[in-house]
Amino acid sequence: MSAAVLIARRELRAYLRTMTGWIIVAAVLLIDGLLFNAFALEGARPSTEVLTRFFYFASGPTMVAAIFLAMRLLAEERQLGTLPLLYSSPVRDRDIVLGKFLGALAFLSGLTLATFYMPLLILVHGHISVGHLLAGYLGLLLLGAASLGLGTLGSSLARTQVVAAILGAALLVSLLVSWLLAAVTEPPFSGLFAALALHNAHFPAFQSGQVHLRDVTYYLLVTWVALFATTRVLEARRWR
């Protein structure tokens, strides 16, 4: 078994055995349920629109959950003094980062799929396409993975989990609001900032049931860049 998979399994078990993981699950499911009930089911709408609104409202808690799940990944290791175990093992730094990310992603995926009962209600009582359902969940997972990547980078830079969450959130919000910069800058920067917007520019297609290669590529690229930067931070720590 590869080192990354071993580390991922341990991370996943850590989420399942500690209160933090379950508190995040409970909070996200509660907020998703409340938002679904209050805004997605509000008024008389076509089923497809209800599903679109469900994915829109689920995207926020998914991003927040990703930041909270990621905050412990490396900051906790530094806090508890367990990082030397990984550093002194015959493991590449990129495998440490990948393993930690995959463990958190597996937990976030489970959490995201636990919201399935809401689309199921729409499916039973209305008419929606499976494609729309799959596209929406793919979007949530990609958005969650990108947020998790940014959170992991924040966690690698911090000594404590609180600071890690703040840094992760700052990185996430920077990308979320880059469309604001687009509105006050001239081309070509306005185009660049608009394309960088984490949610506005890339998630609406998924929530409407469409999968575009550019959106998938964008989320994968954000995730990869964040994890690459995290690996560099870990490598740099060996000098300090």
Partner: protein, 311 residues
Amino acid sequence: MIQVEQLSKFYGARAAIRNLSFRIDSGEVVGFLGLNGAGKTTTLRILGGVLLPTTGTVRLDGQDMMSAPRTLRARIGFLPETPPLYEEMGVGEYLAFVAALRGVEPGRVRSRVVETEERTGLAALDRERIASLSHGYRQRVGVAQALVHGPEVLLLDEPANGLDPVQNVEMRGLVRSLRGDHTVLVSSHILPEIAQTCDRLLVIRDGELVAQGSEAELEERLGVRAGVELEIEGPAEIIAAALRAVPGVRAVGVEPAAGGRALLRVEASDALRPELARVAVGAGARLFRLDVSTDRLESLFLKLAGRGASA
């Protein structure tokens, strides 16, 4: 064999260690002695592959740590100052994770865990959660994680840190039991602790290696008189006279001790302890304690590691 050459680590302008060079042969148990902040932990972290040096090389059997870091890390077991433990895991589960991470084949992981638990006295705690363990057992799990993949080299950073006297004795026994099977470098700031465990001492002060050799060699070089203490009941002066007659004894001092006993301070080599005991008992002493003089060890330690001292 570990060969360290001109090893330095700078944090900005401050040198944590400077131009360290030493060699440890296979199977040796070597003590790394120094005051807190002397550079022991930095050195061990570099040898363990956790930190990279600013300059210098570390070679294991001729292979450079920088050129083959992952291959060499698999041959090293490292216990940092704070044992790196995942508290939510069980002892056996944690050791299995570490073994797999360090490249033990899946089919051998369980047997390695069982073997290591038996060796470190953790067999009864296989399913115990690490969070529920006492400090002493946590230290043992720390040693076990360094041992579980069967490394050739073991680096133990203050393994007796914070242990009570009983746990301390057990830890010394555990480290002694590693002799022969592993090359061990064990750090401490307590000389009596590692003097009893190690074949040889490396003494570090302010980031520089100031002395190396066996305890006896260091004593001779520094002019520290070897000494043995006997706590006895009986005719102290007669017993002292008998001890003065033993070849190799340079002087015997008599001091009163608690409970009407006497403390005899004998200037002689450690090796004479059996003979001193026999003569004292033969001269009518009821022997309560016989030990290497603590004054002597303290004096040696201060000369070696104390600030402003010269070796």
